[in-house]
Structures are given as structure tokens and as C-alpha cells.
């Protein structure tokens, strides 16, 4: 999928170090947010003791949170926090689009791949911001769910969980693979994070819904219908689940588990998964029959909505999910790029919540409002008035304060990503990860007198007054030079109006194919023939050799059918003809993200000099 893969090594030390640094910086800011909020809360409460007492009193008047909701809120809150921590693994910043998202989407239809590619490309252009935002958004949602037990803030946490869950389900899980062949409940259908979203929707329900047994019936019936559907899918002939092996190869399920066993993980776990694979290969029909039967029994029991029937079945279903989680899903989060513990834990949480919801929540006590608590009696508009702010803060519970802190953490993650995403240009970290940081210089640039692609004589002195971005390109190079030319071309576009004050200059780095016909053919090939500030300079070998020497460029003829070996470097020359920066210019994998990153690096360097001049 174009754009999704930045092409960098997922363990690239520069990127990993930058990712860690970003997380540490943002982590400190998160701590500061919580610390500041806590300090403000404590200070105001100390100054307004009556308001603080009134705020405490509100807790006694509200309806108790039903067990099913507490289970979902705490369970999925912990899952979101855990998933956020998994996102902080070092390989995530570069590895997630290419190693996780892209393979997940590969089996899906073209339109799904296209959609997923949009998100993956955005990530690969801004890996630091994207990686960090995933961490803080998920940690923030998790904390928010954990600390906000009731009220609008709690419901809002559920809605945010739905929103983010759907974003992840579409862009990260390619719709949970529901449009791909091989879909099976055993392996996580319909996508773990869709269950997160369903749980979030239930958490977001108003309090009046808590008191109805109808909700419990709806949850169990929905779960039951889903499991029956999964049973049908599992039993469907021709999908390979009834066979342990096929033509000497592992069947569908055994193939999946044998692949999972190759993940880096503790030996005993791999041994268990391998043992199950072997067992399934030998008894594929029996395994699938058991799974289908278990899903049918569980689904039917849940569909009945009868607690006495559901309770024992739920216990068995929990055991089945646990076995599936360990032996088939292989815990889901190992290997350095696992993003969550897969679907079985959320599935069990949802099923158990449905069972608990069959018992109605107790009605709220009709307690009298405590005296002297105007903040409680006041509506939201009143509480948001600036004049009422101190009283509102003082009356807030510690959970509400922590929830506000969690919202701050989410914004902390989302804001930089949103800002980065607004730019179509990749971060310069990708270029620096490939070639290292540029070296500052301050020395006269070597003079040259050469011929441009139009046959005009060009000297370095004739370019005085302009910033010069200079590189050396072989016009018949088949790999790197075309990429480098595109990076220059993109840099020219990024400069916008500033491009009138910048010359994009390349000098031929080929002692054989140096004639004008070659520079012109190269320009046409790269679409540079209509770029007004592009100069591709050449000359005879006798003219080119001293220029190469002056800039430390090696351009050697290599034998036996290979291209010219030449240095890949770019220079930034200021308007007075002085060298100001030297950049490594090996384009690396040449993906859309890295090309954009090099272009951004060139543009930054030119604009820095323009600002100084």
C-alpha cells in the first residue's frame, strides 16, 4: 500500500530515541497537568470549606452505579491503559503502519486497503506524533473511565471511548477483518476494539437506562445472536476449519496458530500454542465441532435471557475464552508490536456485564438535598460561569478532577498529531534517521563555471544573492538520483513564494554521460524541465573534476554494468556564497514519507538562511 511503509528499520535507533524522548517529555507534562489540577483543587477547597462539604454531600444523593456498568467501566478502563502502555513499545512509532496495519489490511478488499492506507500514511509521515498520540489518547481514555464513576463526565468518557474505538477499528484493524476471508471468532472477529466501542456506548447510556432489566436482556440477546452468527461462520463448509490439515499443510486454524507461535515470546507459551497446533492438525474436525457446539450453546443461553441458564454457561464461556486467548490468540500483545490483548478479555467482560445487567439497578434514594449546597442545585450553565468557578471546583469530587486531568492527557496526545496531520510534509526525523543530522559549516563554497540544461553559462558567483541548495546527480542513475531529484523538486514546492530566493542546483556526477542531452533527458524524466529555479549543470570531465574535488565528491566508474559510484550529499550555500550546511543525502528506502522528509529538511535549511538574510 503506497505511503504506509516509511521503509525505515522499525528499530532505527534515532527514531526509537526520539520516540522515547517525546514520551518522556509528554509524560512529564501529563504529570504536571495532574499535579496542577490537584493543587488548584486542594487550594480552592481549603479556601471554600462550605462548598467543599457540599460537593462531598452530592455523592450520597446519586444512584449507586450498577455492577454491570462498574465492570465495563473499570474493565475497559484498565484495557485502554494497558493498550496505551503497549503503544509505548519502542518499535511502535515506525513499525505499526508497516508491520501491523498493512498486513492486517492486505487480505481486505481494495476500498478497505485504500481507506486504511490514508491513516497509515498519516502515521508514517509523522511517526513521533502519531506514536505518542496513540499512547496518551488511550491512557487518557483509560484513566478517564476509571476515575469518572458517574455523571456527565463519566458518560462522556464512554462516548470518547466509542469514537476512538471506531477510529482504531477502521484504520488500525481494517474493520476487524470482517471484509476479509478467514474471519473467525476464535481469532478476534469482529475486532477487539469494536467490543471496546460497544462497551463505551453502554457506559454512555443515561442513568435512567440503568434501572431497566430490558437493557440486560438486550445485551445478552445481542451477545447471544452474535455468538450464534459466529457459530454459523465457524461451521460453514469450505472455509478450512473442519480440517486439521489440507494437502499436507496445516488447516486454517492450525495455520493461524503456527504463525502465532513464531512470535517472540516466553518458551512455555510458544510450546503451548505449538501443542495446540499439533492437536488441531490431528483432530481438526473434533476441535471445530467443539467450538461450534460451544458457541451454539452459549449463544442460545444468552439469547434466552434467563439468568439461571446464563450463569453456568457464562462460567464455561469464560473458560473457553481463556483457553482461546492463551492457545489461539497467543495473548495478542507479545512480540514488541502487539497493540492489545485481543478480543477474548473484552468479550468475557461484555458477556459478564450483560449477565449482571439482568438484575436491575437499585433506584436512587430520595434523599433530601443537603443544606447549603448551591453548587449542587445549580445547573451546568450556572456552574460554568466564571464567578461560580471557584465554588464549582471546590465542590467537585477528586474523581472529577482526575477526569479533567485525563482529558488533558488526551489533548496532550491528540493536539500535536492534529497539528502535524494538518501538514502534508513528513517529519525531518525520517531523513535524520537515515543519514544523521546535518553538519553546520561556515566556509567559502568552491567556485564553479558550468553549463545549465539550457546551454547557458552558470557560475557560483552568478547565483549570489540567493540561497543555493546544491547536490550532485548522475543523469543515468537508476535508483537514488531520481529520488533525490524529486526531493529537490518537492523542496521547491514547499518553499512557496520563497522559491524565488532559492536556486535548486544539481551538478552532473558522471564522467561518461555528462552531455547536455543527458541533463535534458533527466529533467524531462523527473518533471524538472518546467521548474524555473532548477539548474542542472554540466561540463566536460575536465571542468567537472575540479568541482567534484572542491565539494569532496567522488564519482567513480564502476565496472561490469553498474552505475557510477558517487557521493550522495547536499550542501546549503547562503546568499554570500558561503557553505552553511552539509547534509547526508542518501535517500534510503525512497518511500513517499522519506522523500517528503528530505524535502522538508532541505526546505527548513533554506528558510533558516532566508530568515537570517
Amino acid at each position: 500500500m503506497p505511503g504506509m511503509n516509511s521503509g525505515l528499520d522499525i528499530s532505527n535507533p534515532a527514531v526509537v530515541a526520539a520516540f522515547k524522548a517525546a514520551l518522556v517529555h509528554q509524560g512529564l507534562i501529563a504529570l504536571f497537568i495532574f499535579g496542577l489540577l490537584g493543587l488548584v483543587w486542594i487550594t480552592i477547597r481549603a479556601g471554600l470549606p462550605t462548598a467543599a462539604a457540599g460537593g462531598a454531600g452530592t455523592a450520597a444523593t446519586a444512584a449507586a452505579e450498577p455492577a454491570w456498568r462498574r465492570l465495563l467501566r473499570i474493565g475497559f478502563g484498565l484495557l485502554w491503559v494497558f493498550d496505551g502502555i503497549l503503544q509505548a513499545q519502542p518499535k511502535m512509532a515506525v513499525g505499526l503502519p508497516s508491520q501491523v496495519i498493512e498486513p492486517t489490511a492486505t487480505a481486505s478488499p481494495g476500498w478497505v486497503q485504500h481507506l486504511v492506507n490514508v491513516g497509515g500514511t498519516t502515521w508514517s509521515y509523522h511517526p513521533m506524533q502519531a506514536g505518542a498520540s496513540a499512547v496518551w489518547i488511550q491512557v487518557g481514555i483509560g484513566i478517564w473511565l476509571l476515575v469518572a464513576a458517574r455523571g456527565p463526565l463519566s458518560r462522556l468518557a464512554g462516548l470518547v471511548s466509542v469514537g476512538w474505538g471506531l477510529v482504531v477499528w477502521v484504520f488500525g484493524e481494517a474493520f476487524g477483518g470482517i471484509f476479509a476471508p478467514g474471519l473467525t471468532w476464535l481469532f478476534g472477529a469482529p475486532g477487539a476494539v469494536l467490543i471496546y466501542a460497544v462497551a463505551g456506548a453502554l457506559i454512555a447510556l443515561p442513568e435512567r437506562a440503568w434501572r431497566s432489566r430490558r437493557l440486560g436482556r438486550l445485551i445478552t440477546a445481542g451477545t447471544g445472536a452474535f455468538l450464534l452468527g459466529m457459530a454459523v461462520l465457524q461451521a460453514w463448509p469450505g472455509r478450512g476449519f473442519w480440517q486439521g490439515t489440507s494437502h499436507g499443510q496445516p488447516g486454517t486454524l492450525a495455520g493461524m496458530t503456527s504463525t502465532m507461535a513464531q512470535t517472540r515470546q516466553p518458551g512455555f507459551l510458544a510450546a503451548w500454542v505449538n501443542a495446540f497446533t499439533t492437536f488441531d492438525e490431528a483432530h481438526g474436525f473434533a476441535v471445530n465441532l467443539f467450538v461450534v457446539a460451544a458457541l451454539v450453546v452459549t449463544g442460545t443461553a444468552f439469547l434466552s435471557g434467563r439468568p439461571r441458564l446464563i450463569r453456568p454457561v457464562l462460567i464455561g464461556f469464560g473458560v473457553l475464552c481463556l483457553a482461546d486467548w492463551v492457545l489461539i490468540e497467543d495473548l495478542g500483545f507479545l512480540g514488541g508490536l502487539g497493540t492489545d490483548p485481543n478480543s477474548m478479555i473484552p468479550m468475557v467482560l461484555l458477556a459478564a456485564a450483560g449477565y449482571l445487567a439482568l438484575a436491575p439497578a437499585p433506584a436512587p434514594a430520595a434523599a433530601a438535598e443537603p443544606a447549603g449546597s448551591p453548587a449542587v442545585a445549580a445547573g451546568w450553565r450556572d456552574r460554568l460561569r466564571i464567578a461560580a468557578a471557584p465554588r464549582t471546583v471546590a465542590s467537585a469530587s477528586i474523581g472529577s478532577v482526575a477526569a479533567v486531568g485525563a482529558i488533558g492527557v488526551i489533548i496532550l496526545g491528540a493536539a500535536p498529531m492534529a497539528a502535524a496531520q494538518a501538514s502534508p510534509v513528513a517529519d525531518t526525523i525520517l531523513a535524520q534517521a537515515i543519514d544523521g543530522s546535518s553538519a553546520p559549516l561556515d566556509s567559502p563554497a568552491a567556485p564553479f563555471s558550468l553549463t545549465d540544461q539550457h546551454g547557458r553559462d552558470i557560475t557560483l558567483a552568478s547565483l549570489r544573492g540567493k540561497v543555493v541548495l546544491l547536490t550532485f546527480l548522475d543523469p543515468v542513475c537508476t535508483s537514488d538520483c531520481p529520488l533525490e531529484a524529486q526531493e529537490f523538486r518537492q523542496a521547491g514546492q514547499l518553499l512557496g513564494a520563497d522559491d524565488r530566493r532559492v536556486e535548486l542546483v544539481a551538478i552532473v556526477a558522471n564522467p561518461v554521460d555528462y552531455q547536455l542531452g543527458y541533463t535534458q533527458a533527466f529533467d524531462r524524466q523527473e518533471g524538472l524541465d518546467d521548474v524555473p529555479n532548477w539548474l542542472y549543470l554540466t561540463g566536460s570531465p575536465a571542468q567537472l573534476a575540479p568541482v567534484w574535488r572542491g565539494y569532496g565528491i567522488a564519482a567513480q566508474i564502476a565496472a561490469a554494468g553498474s552505475m557510477i559510484l558517487h557521493s550522495e550529499v547536499a550542501y546549503v550555500i547562503d546568499s554570500r556564497g558561503r557553505l552553511r550546511q552539509e547534509m547526508g543525502f542518501d535517500p534510503g528506502p525512497g518511500t513517499a514519507a522519506t522523500k517528503s522528509s528530505f524535502a522538508a529538511e532541505l526546505t527548513d535549511a533554506a528558510q533558516q538562511l532566508l530568515r537570517q538574510s
Binding site: 497509515g120 474471519l183 481469532f187 497467543d330 554521460d513 543527458y518 554494468g561 553498474s562
Partner: protein
């Protein structure tokens, strides 16, 4: 489903981007350039006889998919029995080399590969010791051993491009101009009579007129055309009645001192056969047909005095030594034989490549085996094009 139940983290801000992308992703379709449906040509592994000696282009190295195939050029100078490596410098040649002999000079075209889209050209006049670049072609040369032709003595060049257009460069090679396209040639009276499907070869007559060739849809017709009197005229041989119902493809066409030599593939499948055709003073002579027994041509080469040698997919070699003579089977070819270099008097060298080693085997007329005469180790620059 694979491992990851993932947290992608396209941020919340991704959603607007999706909507934006949905609004601008659909670029209007542009019509694709018309391309010829070229029949399979023999590979670019071939040899060529010029006044300077015999040249051979052979692919060596490793996998083409990994850009580790490197084409090498060898020469056996006219005054020597030894081959030497003379691959032209300066350009990665993973796309293949196309040779054109013009008197003592040899023009070599580089088919583009990877991100290169035009075709560099280079020339030597001293047997490959010194090379000088020529003005490049602004498009890809066709993947056919006769895609490039040089007119001896004049410096005039003819190039068949991958899209079916033929360009010519006047002496001095300052600019390339379009001579004709396959579609335009097919629309001429001669082209219509043939039902020209594609172009497979370009050369010059001894008098310097461009000649083009390709397969015809009209059975029994050899699609060879020469420019004259402001239009294109059929110039191919009249074929025997036995081939009247057969589809004819001009697989190879080259200029000789006396005229031209062509290889014509007749029919398809198990009934396919091959004929050599020689022209002199406007008169064509045909070899008896050689049944290919369902195999296909993998390499074809021309030698001095109208000799031609071929290799088929069955790894069998055949040679014909003079105008009108029949095909003679060669002994089983040495393993890895990429091409044959027919010499005078029915001799032939087999050039076998394995990795970076070229082994030259020689066959003497009426011999029963090949004799190893030379081994050349070529320093293949693995990985240099990736």
C-alpha cells in the same frame, strides 16, 4: 487474522483527512498511450558480427527481480580467438543491452531499468577500449535484439521504442525524430495488406533505407517494409504455398554486406517452424523450414557470410551456414548456454553464463562435442543497482 488486534492510532484528526482524501483522490483518467501487442522476441542474449570482430551480449549475475542481473558485453576481435570483457561504463545495464553494428563501430543501447525511463546510448570505434556517449533516446528501447540499427559510415541511427514508435537520428546524433509509428505503418497500403500487429525489428538496407519488420495478421505474409517513394512498401520474401495458412512473425532482421538476413517464425504451437531468409539485390532466398517441435526461440545470432545460429527452449542449437542452406543440429549445448556466436565455415562458440563466470565452448564443423576454450570471471557488482 494476523496477530495484531491493533491500536492504530491514526489520530482523531485523521477523520477530516479521510474526507479530504475522498474528495480529491479521483484523478481524471488519462488515455493510456497505444502500445503494440508485441509477440515474444528472442532474448537480448545475442551475438553480432562487425568489422571489428564478433560481439556478444550476455546476461550474468543473479536475480533480475532483485536487480542483480547485469548484462555484459564481450568481443572476440577479428584478429583473435579469445573473448574479452568490454561492457560499456557509466550506466547500470540491468534493463538489457541492445547492439547495433555499423562498420567497425558498435552502438550500444541501454534499456532502462528501475526509475530510469530513457535509453542511454554509447558508441565505440576501437573494439570497446574507449566509449563515447551518444544523445540518449527519450523513451525505452523495445526489448528486441534488433531494436537499434546503425547505418555504416554515416552515423545514422534507427531505434524501435517499446511503445511501437520508430525514431531516427541523423548523422551527428544531435536530435531524435519520429520516423513512423506502428499504427501509422499499419495504416499504409502495405501495412494493411499485412495486417501489421507490432514491430519487432529495425535495420537499414545496404543502400541506407530504413527497414522495419513485424508480425502480420494475414497468414502467409512476412511483414518486412522499406521506406521509399514517400511511403512504406512491402519488402519481405514471398513464402512457399506450404506456409500460406501460417501466421508469420519476423523474429530477427539484420543488415548484411549483401542485403539482409531474417528469421521468420511460421505457425504456432507444435506446428511452429523457423526459416532463415537472405536477401541480395532485392531477391530473397529461404532455408527449408526447421520444425521447432513446440519449443520457442530463446536466442538467435547472426555471423559472417549469412550464418545464423539459434537456441530453443528445448536447449537445442541449430546453425545454418549460407544462403539457402538447411539447418544443422548442433551437439547438446553446454549447460547455461546463453547465446551462440556463429563463425566462419560453420564453426560456433557457445557462451555459457553462471553467476559471474562466462565459459566459452567451441564447436568445429561436423564435430560431436563442444570444447571448452576459455573462462572469463566477471566482477559482478551485486547489489549496486538496488
Amino acid at each position: 487474522m494476523s496477530r495484531p488486534r491493533l491500536r492504530s492510532a491514526a489520530a482523531i484528526a485523521v477523520l477530516p483527512a479521510v474526507m479530504l482524501a475522498a474528495g480529491c483522490a479521483g484523478a481524471p483518467a488519462t488515455p493510456a498511450p497505444a502500445t503494440q501487442a508485441a509477440p515474444p522476441s528472442p532474448s537480448l542474449n545475442t551475438s553480432l558480427d562487425t568489422a571489428a570482430g564478433t560481439w556478444a551480449a550476455v546476461v550474468m549475475g543473479g536475480s533480475a527481480a532483485q536487480d542483480n542481473n547485469f548484462w555484459q558485453l564481450f568481443i572476440r576481435p577479428a584478429d583473435s580467438t579469445r573473448w574479452k570483457l568490454v561492457t560499456p561504463p557509466g550506466t547500470a545495464d540491468n534493463g538489457g543491452l541492445v547492439l547495433a553494428g555499423g562498420g567497425p563501430a558498435l552502438v550500444t543501447g541501454f534499456r532502462p531499468s528501475q526509475d530510469l525511463t530513457f535509453s542511454p546510448l554509447i558508441q565505440t570505434s576501437d573494439g570497446g577500449q574507449a566509449w563515447s556517449s551518444l544523445n540518449p533516446l527519450d523513451a525505452a528501447l523495445a526489448s528486441a535484439p534488433d531494436a537499434l540499427a546503425a547505418r555504416p559510415g554515416s552515423g545514422q541511427l534507427l531505434a524501435l521504442l517499446a511503445g511501437g514508435t520508430v525514431q531516427e537520428a541523423a548523422p551527428g546524433n544531435a536530435t531524435w525524430t519520429v520516423l513512423v509509428s506502428q499504427q501509422a505503418l499499419a495504416a499504409t497500403p502495405a501495412g494493411r495488406r499485412c495486417g501489421l500487429q507490432a514491430l519487432t525489428a529495425a535495420t537499414f538496407t545496404p543502400s541506407g533505407s530504413p527497414v522495419l519488420a513485424g508480425p502480420c495478421t494475414r497468414p502467409g505474409t512476412a511483414g518486412i517494409f522499406t521506406a521509399g517513394n514517400g511511403t512504406w512498401q512491402a519488402a519481405g520474401p514471398a513464402l512457399p504455398a506450404a506456409l500460406a495458412g501460417q501466421d508469420i512473425t519476423v523474429s530477427r532482421l539484420t543488415r548484411t554486406a549483401q542485403g539482409m538476413t531474417a528469421l521468420l517464425a511460421a505457425g504456432t504451437g507444435p506446428d511452429a517452424s523457423l526459416l532463415a531468409a537472405w536477401s541480395a539485390a532485392g531477391h530473397w532466398t529461404l532455408s527449408p523450414p526447421l520444425s521447432l517441435h513446440g519449443s520457442a526461440l530463446t536466442s538467435a545470432s547472426f555471423g559472417p557470410g549469412g550464418t545464423a545460429a539459434i537456441i530453443t527452449t528445448a536447449n537445442r542449437g541449430q546453425i545454418t551456414t549460407s544462403a539457402g542452406s538447411s539447418w544443422q543440429p548442433l551437439p547438446p549445448l553446454p549447460p547455461g548456454t546463453a547465446t551462440l556466436a556463429p563463425g566462419p565455415g560453420g564453426t560456433a562458440d557457445a557462451l555459457a553464463a553462471r553467476g559471474g563466470t562466462l565459459t566459452v565452448w567451441q564447436y568445429a564443423p561436423r564435430g560431436t562435442t563442444w570444447a571448452k576454450i576459455q573462462v572469463i570471471n566477471v566482477p559482478i557488482p551485486y547489489g549496486s543497482s538496488s
